[in-house]
């Protein structure tokens, strides 16, 4: 399961935390939570939505705990950024834009970016498919505006 979802879950960690070491810690927490919950997987949902449910619940609790401990987050500039790698700058800009969204919008957007359908997002979040569709189209527009705004400023 980690072979399949390892990369998407690492990307999810980046949405919740900005420090690379903390992202790794969170990923390990998620991996452990999935591993321990695996015997209780009832298959009443797909493996993917089940894994994302656990990942989001662990990430929410973990990031809240970290905020309480630190009371402040590291600035975005501390992200490891290697402009030599193609697409890295764009990805960081997208991540920056995602970080500026409200928590609930962040959940929806990251699931959409990972390619989950509205129905799957509804299963993960507990929201209705209709409300997700409306919200996501607004968020996509907002992200596009944010990214365009950055490009225009350059």
């Amino acid at each position: 399961m980690l072979e399949t979802y390892g990369r998407p879950l690492r990307r999810l960690c980046k949405v919740y935390l900005r420090d690379a070491a903390e992202q790794e810690d969170l990923f390990q927490e998620i991996a452990f939570a999935i591993w321990t919950a695996l015997p209780n997987f009832r298959r009443d949902s797909t493996e993917r939505t089940w894994a994302y449910r656990i990942a989001h619940n662990v990430a929410l609790s973990y990031s809240a705990k970290r905020r309480r401990q630190q009371c402040s987050e590291l600035p975005m500039e501390t992200l490891p950024c290697d402009p030599a790698i193609e697409g890295q700058v764009q990805r960081n800009e997208l991540l920056d834009a995602v970080h500026q969204l409200k928590p609930i919008d962040r959940h929806l957007v990251v699931l959409y970016l990972e390619g989950l359908t509205a129905r799957e997002i509804a299963e993960v979040t507990g929201l209705t498919v209709d409300s997700i569709g409306v919200r996501l189209s607004r968020m996509k527009h907002r992200l596009a505006v944010m990214l365009h705004g950055k490009e225009n400023n350059k």
Binding site: R53, G87, R91, L94, G126, L127, G133
Partner: protein
Amino acid sequence: MTPLQNEPDDLQKVWRGDDRTPTAVGHLMMLKLVQEKRRSLQDFLRGEDLTSYTIAVAFAPLTAFAIWKSRPVFLMQLGFLLMTVTLVVGAVVTWINQHRGSALRQMDLSVREYQAQLLRFLDQRIRFSKGVKYWYATPLFLGFSLAIYPIASHFLPLFWSLLLIIAMFVLLEYLTWRMHDVQRVKDLQRRKDEVQSLLRDMNGLE
């Protein structure tokens, strides 16, 4: 993929472009490392949460023994009895409270269900922390005051011994209030506000 598309759109392509796996450690090895880390963390948390048990285990036999030893002084005996009962009740109530918290280990609920469950749990913890001074600290310190009053009154005049006991009782109550009602409840309340805000946003989407 969007709900209507099969091919990733531009945003999704940018997002998923970062497919490098940064760690060289195999997944199995990583899980073993996490397990070890988790075990030490759980030990730490257990140690932190079980203060009540530790106090009960350390002091309850002593106070129980003191009940028997202080037979000639009724007030002292009553004080030690009150302390023993409070310590044992405190350990039991803490255990029940922790047992309730284990419901949060079900991580595969939807985000909304999990947050609603977390909110109920936080409410319970806040009530528990606020109530500690009434059902635990007050009888414990009252028992302690009763137990040491005969000693104080033996060395000091009645007025000063009463004053000393009352001052000590008030100080201990104040420290408990600072520790539970102020610091702990503040932390829990902050977490509760975050959960409430997320749930409010989720409800607002419907």
